[in-house]
Assembly symmetry: C2
Homo-oligomer: 241 residues x 2
Amino acid sequence: MIYVVGIGPGGVDTMTPQAVEAIKSCEAVAGYTKYLELVGKFLEGKTIISSGMTHELERCQSALNAAKLGMNVALISSGDSGVYGMAGLMLEVAQGSGVDVKIIPGITAANSCAAILGAPLMNDYVTVSLSDLLTDWRVIAKRLTAACLGDFVICIYNPASHHRPNHLKNACDILLTLKDPETPSGYVRNAGRNDESYEVMTLRELRECQKIDMLCTVIVGNSQTLILDGKLITPRGYKLE
Amino acid sequence: MIYVVGIGPGGVDTMTPQAVEAIKSCEAVAGYTKYLELVGKFLEGKTIISSGMTHELERCQSALNAAKLGMNVALISSGDSGVYGMAGLMLEVAQGSGVDVKIIPGITAANSCAAILGAPLMNDYVTVSLSDLLTDWRVIAKRLTAACLGDFVICIYNPASHHRPNHLKNACDILLTLKDPETPSGYVRNAGRNDESYEVMTLRELRECQKIDMLCTVIVGNSQTLILDGKLITPRGYKLE
């Protein structure tokens, strides 16, 4: 059996008991080294299958090999393993092997970051990753445009990295062709971890923001989103009086 | 202090320790009666502020009144309180009152249902609610169209109710103008609860499905989504060999 476990944004207090139990029940735990550290207290005595980033296929194959030897294996992702995580690849790799794969969801960055920024996701939203390692930039650009046309709140994963320092600026340029530059926006860095930080700003300011890196998630409001007491809120439409 | 707490999809095993601690720390707990039952084991000795559905504003005002009397109050939502939940309204109602409001995220239906169906949310997705109580149907229709134009995976909340039995069929008709009728799709009913059930099917079959009610969440794939071993998978684009 392989459990693909989403451990949530950071510490143990945002992991579900279901996720903890899945890890505890396994003889082997696989994951990117940094995520294994977050669940270190559950790893004593277990076989560790660790690997660096971008070795996702190798990690899934190692997990499958361990499962074929009769071990129960937990393959962990931060956030939700089913959102830009390992769940899909693990299901693909295990296909036809006879090994069961069960997905254990976690709180994904859209939700953990929204809670820190206020309540920006109270109405329809999209998630878009700006990583073009696996998705052509033209597809990303098309999705950003469609998100504006639908007046969705937009949650941006992987807004920047060393290899693509200008992706967020380029994305903002697309959004600014269709959205008000004063649209309330914000980012969270290291959600749920000790050095968590966040900032609320306008879309115009977001385009110029130099502090956003690969540890950040960005949220851009829809036409209804407000800033109230420093928090982002997208009202659902309740009448207050 | 008011905590707006997302309790996740169902049982205690999908609530985070952070959510449990927030409820335990409060003297009063407010929520829709059915959600209070899900966290019954934490409610002993607490003041209960319960109310039926569609009394959301009243519930927030009651929570604020209790907080003004000096109580710590937990206002609970199923799933994530920040996604079609109570977080935004509570922040609006509390504005200017001097009462602090903290949002505790939970696992929302998009994620809990995706895990049951496989891994459909491995790439960019939207959530759209078909409830037109607070959102005009023309806005919903526009968003469904935009979601197709962006080739997003589409997660549908509130697909039906007694008052709007044809909403899902109408939504599917919009999707079918732009998407392949064979698009892999599925629904989950009562995710995370004892009587959980799910089904994987095509978009064409989804339009005709009579089993989908207000306790269901629906996922419609993008152009890449596959059905593998009975599970929905949207590949991220890793090359398998």
